[in-house]
Symmetry: C2
Subunit: 866 residues, 2 copies
């Protein structure tokens, strides 16, 4: 910004290289550091004419982090650095405002004490509250110099008490400690949590920006504010922000004072009160507003993206302190990307890269059914869109605990802080009593795609009892409520929801993505409902149709059980004969929906005991199976396995019961013939054999399929072309891919099981320690969410290479849940896979991720959205 000629306070940057070096030296600075630091300060002194530590014209500094990616509220900032008794006196003299100087000193000691010295925030706040109460004032600016002096004295005592040493008066010591604190905060648990949740690597590190202070608290012609260049909720092209007069930056963000709006459009959109409207900057200070509007245009044109800026007005002069790509809702991201292209600010490729694919998930979240009459019991700011129901909790830990028990929760807090992040992540929705649209709660919730209402009126959150009180309405802990984050409304109970209309911007983005991506996208689906969603999101086929899902249907499960428990081949054959027409209908439904598109049908996979009743159900079901309870119990015990994941399932089961394969293949082929007859198009079928570890397993089943195929084709008098391939979901299949590819016509990586076996972790049991692992930094991300490229990925690379070497036209795809994860999709594109298959709701994410991967591979320096 400095180079662009914008009004930035003078300063310098200690780069991320220094941060890396600092950690490499076990939190020590390199030898060259003191000199570099002095040079930097000297340059600021020259530009400002002030001197660091001077008792005449003291230079005050802000020390803030400058991480590669914005992490609001995560990294610590220290303002007003350089104050001690002498320099404060000098500042008072120089500004002619003793109250201002003392207020700065008070803020500095509090911030430094908390952030650098690790003294709990509330010790200072309690002290301040006490003095405010004594003085009978509400706002800090009403405090007299004498009161501020007594606050300061109390603060100094708190520091002495907590640390055993006096507050550091030497300004260079202050600077040194502050810089260290910024670097150290890179590894603070809350920063680590944030990176984990957003998948940012550890080794980026943070830079430190040291700048001359400008003061928004130098009187009523001073102010401070934050702004988004467009509405971060809707993406609308309006200037969107908040400011506070006579305040410093943290006052706006912390949500302690409720700030005022910048533009009249905001007033309109928020249905703001007349009092609020009177305070809008556009009206109150049109000249300043215009200056900001110019700044806004300049920055957007330059960075080719929507910006999140911080500004300060010192005695009428505007300074811009910081700019970065602004966080936004997915709705806004999509709208802004389209608008930026239309306005000629950026290219389609650039626009596509500004959208975080994972965030698109939000767009697909349900909204409240508009036909339902709502009984609204609480209202607040529509801080993050989406509707959510859950039970009331008032602490982050409780939210996390209940979520792990499978409960949907809504987290109510007076206000949120970085310490609440894990609970916000665990919650379906967040409600706060204080703070505005740019408060911590609002920014984080939008980033996470959680519904959020901020500043709910008359809300009291009693964290002791877990009770929530809105005016006269009392809601008990654990009571079920629904929130609408798009409208800022709270209702009792669970309100029905519907799938939102995705709108034109979304369609445009998807069309652009489809033009750019190089990989095909399929859906994992087999039910009518899922097939419809797959069609809606334009799946280019089905990558995984699980034939066993249909076995659980009420009208079939007992026939399936009879088949499993058959004590003779004849009994098994007769059960299979009953299942055949059902299975054929299943396949017809799939082939009809996917007219002409490829469909991968996986043959029966799970262990047989999964289909059998448990516990009390045994006695209920035995008669329907013509079995006695002891006989059924014995049969179930006989099928029991110690480690079913590693047991008699997949192709192992199919080899034991080839009659099942014959039935399923016959159903597939007959369905092909029927749908071909109806539509005139031959379904493109790929028959997939699961859990192959050795090529011999594949060969034997392939020959069973070939026999059935010859038989049915003969009966029907037509050829029914299909491929026969395999899941690569065991390490050994990947390691022996060359041998398997000699017979298999396609590979589909089943990354769920491949991750389980490569890591030796069962998803069913791993939750117990995996979440601990991620939070304790044992893992940078959950390998079941983001494909582990170092381990599982290496097997995939190996198998793709060996497979293609053996069979040049081998079709290769992925059908694990990783297919819906952006980083994993990028990996698959990089490996040249033919298609990625994911759950139908994640198709938009996969489409955009695939496009981004293709764009980045053409232009490796293309930046990430942030």
């Amino acid at each position: 910004m400095k180079r662009m000629g914008l009004p930035v306070p003078p300063g310098f940057t200690l780069t991320t290289d220094l941060c890396t070096e600092y950690y490499r030296l076990h939190k020590q600075f390199p030898e060259s550091y003191p000199d570099l630091l002095k040079q930097g300060i000297r340059a600021i002194e020259q530009e400002t004419g002030a001197a660091f530590g001077s008792t005449e014209k003291p230079l005050l500094l802000s020390v803030r982090s400058g991480a590669r990616v914005s992490m609001p509220g995560m990294m610590d900032t220290i303002l007003n650095l350089g104050l001690n008794e002498q320099t404060t006196a000098a500042l008072a003299k120089q500004s002619g405002d003793e109250r201002f100087a003392l207020d700065c000193h008070r803020r500095f000691v509090q911030m430094f004490g908390n952030v650098v010295l690790g003294i709990p925030h509330h010790l200072f706040e309690d002290q301040l509250d006490r003095v405010r109460d004594q003085q009978g004032v509400l706002e800090d600016k009403e405090l007299t110099p004498a009161s501020l002096r007594s606050v300061l004295a109390a603060y100094m005592a708190i520091v002495q008490d907590a640390t055993g040493s006096p507050f550091p008066a030497d300004v260079w010591t202050q600077l040194d400690l502050a810089i260290k604190a910024v670097f150290d905060s890179w590894q603070a648990p809350r920063a680590v949590t944030y990176r984990r949740l957003h998948d940012f690597p550890e080794d980026w590190g943070t830079a430190v920006n040291v700048q001359a202070m400008v003061f928004g608290n130098l009187g009523d012609d001073s102010a401070t504010g934050v702004a988004f260049t467009r509405d971060p909720s809707t993406g609308a092209n309006i200037f969107y922000g908040e400011y506070l007069e006579n305040a410093q930056g943290e006052d706006v963000v912390a949500g302690i004072r409720t700030p005022h709006l910048l533009s009249l459009r905001q007033v309109e959109d928020n249905n703001a009160s007349e009092d609020e409207a009177a305070m809008v900057l556009e009206t109150r200070n049109p000249a300043l507003y215009r200056q900001l509007m110019d700044l806004r245009t300049t920055l957007e044109q330059h960075y080719q993206d929507m910006q999140d800026i911080e500004f300060t007005v010192q005695s009428g002069k505007l300074y811009v302190l910081q700019t970065r790509s602004g966080k936004r809702t997915s709705r806004a991201a999509v709208a802004i990307a389209v608008a930026m292209v239309e306005e000629g600010i950026c290219t389609v490729e650039q626009a596509l890269l500004t959208i975080d694919p994972a965030q698109l998930d939000q767009l697909l979240h349900p909204i409240l059914d508009p036909t339902v009459q709502l009984d609204v019991i609480g209202e607040g700011l529509p801080a993050s869109p989406g509707a959510a129901s859950g039970i009331i909790v008032t602490s982050a830990d409780e939210a996390e605990m209940l979520e792990q028990q499978g409960k949907a929760v809504i987290l109510f807090r007076p206000e949120t802080s970085p310490e609440d992040i894990h609970g916000m992540h665990a919650a379906r929705g967040i409600v706060t009593a204080r703070g505005g649209m740019t408060s911590h709660a609002a920014v984080v919730a939008r980033g996470m795609g959680r519904a959020c209402i901020c500043g709910m009126k008359n809300l009291q959150v009693d964290t002791e009892s877990g009770r929530v009180i809105i005016g006269k309405t009392v809601l008990e802990a654990g009571e079920l409520v629904t929130i609408d984050g798009s409208q800022g409304m709270l209702m009792r109970g669970e309100i029905p929801t519907i799938i939102p209309d995705l709108g034109g911007h979304f369609t445009t983005i998807m069309a652009w993505a489809d033009q750019h991506r190089t990989v095909r996208l399929r859906a994992n689906a087999e039910t009518e409902t899922d097939l419809k969603v797959a069609n809606q999101f334009e799946a280019e086929g089905i990558g995984l149709a699980r034939t066993e899902h249909m076995f659980f249907q009420a009208d079939r499960i007992n026939v399936v059980r009879k088949m499993i428990l058959a004590d003779s081949d004849a009994a098994r054959a007769s059960a299979l004969a009953i299942l055949l027409p059902h299975q054929q209908q299943d396949f017809e439904t799939i082939f009809r929906h996917m007219e002409g598109l490829p469909v991968t049908v996986r043959l029966l996979d799970p262990p047989l005991h999964e289909f059998l009743p448990r516990g009390a159900a045994i006695a209920e079901i035995a008669p329907a199976l013509d079995m006695t309870v002891p006989a059924l119990t014995a049969a179930i015990d006989d099928l029991h396995e110690v480690n079913p994941m590693l047991g008699h399932r997949g192709c192992r089961l199919l080899l034991s019961y080839p009659a099942i394969v014959r039935m399923q293949v016959e159903a597939i082929l007959r369905a092909m013939a029927v749908v071909h007859g109806e539509l005139g198009t031959m379904p493109q079928v790929e028959i997939m054999i699961p859990l192959v570890a050795d090529v011999e397993e594949f060969k034997q089943l392939q020959s069973v399929i070939a026999e059935v195929s010859q038989d049915i084709e003969g009966q029907l008098g037509m050829t029914l072309p299909h491929l026969v391939g395999t899941m690569i979901e065991l390490p050994r299949a990947a390691l022996t891919a060359a041998a398997i590819a000699q017979h298999a016509e396609f590979f589909s990586f089943g990354t769920n099981d491949l991750t389980q076996t490569t890591w030796g972790i069962s998803r069913d049991d791993g939750a117990r320690f995996l979440s601990q692992y991620v939070s304790r930094r044992l893992l940078s991300s959950d390998p079941f969410v983001t494909l582990d490229t170092e381990g599982v990925g290496r097997l995939i690379v190996w198998a793709v290479e060996a497979g293609r070497q053996t069979r040049a036209d081998l079709k290769i795809g992925i059908c694990g849940e990783h297919g819906g994860d952006p980083a994993s999709v990028a990996f698959c594109v990089g490996q040249g896979l033919d298609y990625v298959s994911c759950s139908p709701y994640r198709l938009p994410i996969a489409r955009l991720s695939a496009a981004q991967a293709a764009i980045r591979s053409k232009n490796p320096v293309a930046t990430s959205p942030e």
Copy 2:
């Protein structure tokens, strides 16, 4: 042998290449085959002066398999080929012995009918029995030509009836079909089973030897016999064999007539009866005996190994039909190897290669406690050494079934055939009513290391009722008996056994092996008993001491349970404090036994629920844990896992409960100090972290170990040097070995778990389908027995390379059960591992395997023992 100038009937060989080609062409011969065959026959005709199919001087052929490795009874042989009505008449005329000619024709039709045409043997035998009964004769040679003609007529009817066609009269058709039958028998289920049990690859194929017939059944100056050049049971340097006058080869092997002995030494060793002694060849025909003795020396000198030969005497002239390395007991193998070196017949290297390491296991089998008074109820030939107890079964299927249920069984059969192989493998011992020391049962049992008694006197096996009758003693099915295969004795009940004295030859072989092997050998052991065996077999350290084994001891298990169920850190700490001195003693014991040798201690590995009671035991144990039954049940349920193999265990558990690590490491270090004080030698300790999937897991635990180590070293005022390393037992650990080796000081491949996860097969559940897999030829060998070099091996190769590249002095070993498997040891030697660790009883096998691998790697053409 032909080239050596030995008396071999003229013939030619269709090589294994032709067999491979035959299978490649889907059981068709290549175009060049008919001409080649004709050329071969013509050469025999020229040498013998007879003509194939001639009605004057007919050439008769034997067609037999010539596989790379002898598979007694496995491959089918056809004798007397070339006979039909006309050639039989010519043979009668030429030999002047019509009975002989008809006997040959009868034998040919029977053998061809069974082997080539697949007609059940018993159909022919029943017919023959009927005629014998009619004639009132016992031996075939007493049958008149007329009777033989009626037998032949009946045989022809049987063939017509069974196949719908007449018996092929054309001699070229006979030859063609016979050759095909030999090739086809390579894939007969019994051959496949044998290969599987002995780990011979499928692709070796078999050759076919076509030779002119010589006749042992041409009168009383003709004979046929088989012999071992040394005693295959003891290895004693005596000529050891059996012969039958006026008989053909199959009569001796099939065990239908009891053959006579060759040498007087045999008579002595067998305590043979006077009748038998009178028939010994050495006395009856000293000239022939001397000829055989010369042959014996020539063959041993040439092949540098003990030989198993077949010979025939036709009208007084000796022919040698076949020679091969003879099967032998491990005791014999060891004795012969030592003797051959002493006699200058072969080098130490060659001698070591003649011993099958897997067979050594036999030597280590227990023998009957000599102090126990035996009540012998049955006696027979000491066909295969060793003592065994088990319950009586009379069918191979039943033996296999009961063995799979964990029962020890002794298989009783009238005689055994290749169809019984699976039951013989499943049994601890085998007893037959018929057959001699070279019968099928004897040869196979020795090869498998099963105790065996052949030709038990007065034994009747009633396969219908499962009952066994010896004279007047009736033993019911399922009754417990003990057999001593070294002495040929059967006793009721279970007789106590002791470990045999291994003798000087064994020590010599082990010493030679140790001189040649390049890899170090350690034992997997932690109990006093196992440590003693490890010392006895000269383990060079402990490769795996499982610390949890000690947790199960009666005096500790409840403390362990209290530790697991502790609801506070304090409660856990107090339980651990009680365990500490016990663990310290455990380690002291290990370190004392392994004075100065390396000891790898694995920290706690299994999931905690393994230590908790189940079912009815819960109510019993709850009071001892100061818990109510519901509370204990709930705690156990809470620890339940769906797939414990992939659950909260190994380092995952240690990370959750670092207090366990601290206790175990403290116990190790304190034990080191104590033993150092006692012995003056510092124990060489390697602390091993189990189940690492990612280097971060390792790093965090390594730092816990470092803390404890610093603490204890400080307390004791001494340094206690130790390495910290990891198991490589998950695919991901192997794939990320480079990263792990940056921190780990050693790797130990835990091939049991590595096989489970690479294949996705739980050993607990895999039995259900793995045995099926091996028998259905889905797998050539069980990957839990012989290391899967294609899959698991690839991960090991990768990890060794990456590990050594990162850390040149990385110590690498293997501690899975594969450490005791010869092929797996050879693989480990090939990968340059520093040591192999196996169960203590398998150390001799590993020592010899390691030596053989080293010898073969120096001289890749060195042959296998067979």
